[in-house]
Symmetry: C2
Subunit: 249 residues, 2 copies
């Protein structure tokens, strides 16, 4: 199969705890780095509350706009975990006990410990594909292009390896970073020129403050290493001409 | 003036570096905690790329849907900083040198250092209100209910104090957390009952793993302390009945 050059995704973070500021989301970064490595570009992230209609509306927009959709959060056993039932309604699929998930959970827990709360985690859209969870038993699931993962970062991370074969990415997006001892305004004009000369390469400029010193990281991103190399040498040219110290490249 | 009971906001994180996973967003949590403290509830967050039309479309939806909109990122001097021009187009306002911002920046830099790149940071929507920046000189700005802040977390944080008087919040949202040595499935049913009996209170359940031990934090949120107290005692009742250890409350 030929790989498509552009494969994209959106991430939907479901959870009041992120919106209240109580919990710092780290799953976006984890998912984005993993997706980049398999040739999928994240084009949008939304954080929304635990409200069924909001979840359904957002999923309907995402699944028709992007190649892949990843949700995090809301698949645990408590009342505020409503992702599985919302996905069922989104696709108009029955919400029921998933036999395979039920067996998986039943064998994970000690006899007598597989209570009603835990059984809730086997309720899913009918015939959903399971996503294996090596950390804590309860599987994630996918329906068509929508993949539902838990909110706990360590558990989410442990599930990505098993997911990789389910995702058909495009060409991996490569990146190259040049870190400079300068400030953005010193290089802004020259960098704009390089960007204008290389319109299909993504060039970002990010100020940093590290070990008491200011600097700027220039990040060049493209699927095509040759194009990255061209930009890199154009940037190094003006940096040398300006006598700017390169910290790392 | 009577305070409205419900005042809400949305946050728009502008930046390819967040979508690529290179940079971990922390501004959402900073803004959400600050907004909560002045009675504004964050109802949605979106992370979008540095694309003008995407910024304009999202801003138009946000500013007509929520009381306040906060953007982060894209107000620096480089080619990928396009927030100010996008806000100008969103409101159909001229994008031009803001005289007050220009003077502010001119006096911030040493003579001869106020170059073209730095001057770009004084380009804004005509008559925008400035947001004072005590850290690095370049001000943020607001137009109507849209407030534009920088992406660098330490600079953003330093600007919030000066902004507080520009925001008219509702009743501050109070919260109470009970941390338990248990797992979610043990308390799911009882907690559902408390939520059903107190529908206008937001009750969240969050598993944690700390110092080698599993636990669950229950977070009760409301503008009304009495309602929080009612939920708290109902929760403590079933916790005592179940002999669950309270770690912190």
């Amino acid at each position: 199969m030929n790989k498509k050059t552009k494969v994209n995704a959106a991430i939907l973070i479901i959870g009041n705890e992120i919106l209240s500021g109580r919990t710092q989301d780290t799953n976006t970064s984890t998912l984005a780095i993993w997706l980049n490595s398999i040739g999928v570009k994240v084009e949008e992230v939304r954080v929304i509350p635990d409200i069924e209609q909001t979840i359904i509306d957002t999923l309907n927009f995402f699944r028709s706009t992007y190649n892949y959709v990843f949700t995090t959060g809301g698949i645990g056993p408590t009342h505020d975990d409503i992702t599985a039932q919302s996905v069922s309604k989104t696709f108009g699929i029955k919400y029921e006990i998933h036999k395979e998930a039920f067996k998986m959970l039943e064998s994970y827990y000690k006899p007598g410990e597989f209570n009603e709360g835990r059984q809730k985690m086997s309720w899913m859209p009918e015939n959903a594909n399971l996503i294996y969870n090596p950390t804590s038993g309860a599987p994630g699931f996918s329906v068509e292009n929508v993949f539902c993962l838990p909110g706990v970062p360590s558990i989410l991370k442990s599930m990505l390896g098993g997911l990789t074969n389910s995702i058909v990415g495009g060409k991996p997006i490569k990146s190259h970073t040049i870190s400079l001892r300068t400030v953005e305004s010193e290089i802004a004009n020259s960098l704009t020129k390089v960007q204008n000369d290389n319109k299909d390469v993504e060039i970002g400029s990010y100020p940093f403050f590290h070990a008491g010193k200011l600097g700027v990281s220039i990040v060049i991103r493209s699927e095509d290493q040759t194009k990255i190399d061209v930009c890199n040498s154009q940037i190094l040219n003006f940096i040398n001409a300006k006598n700017i110290e390169v910290v790392d490249r």
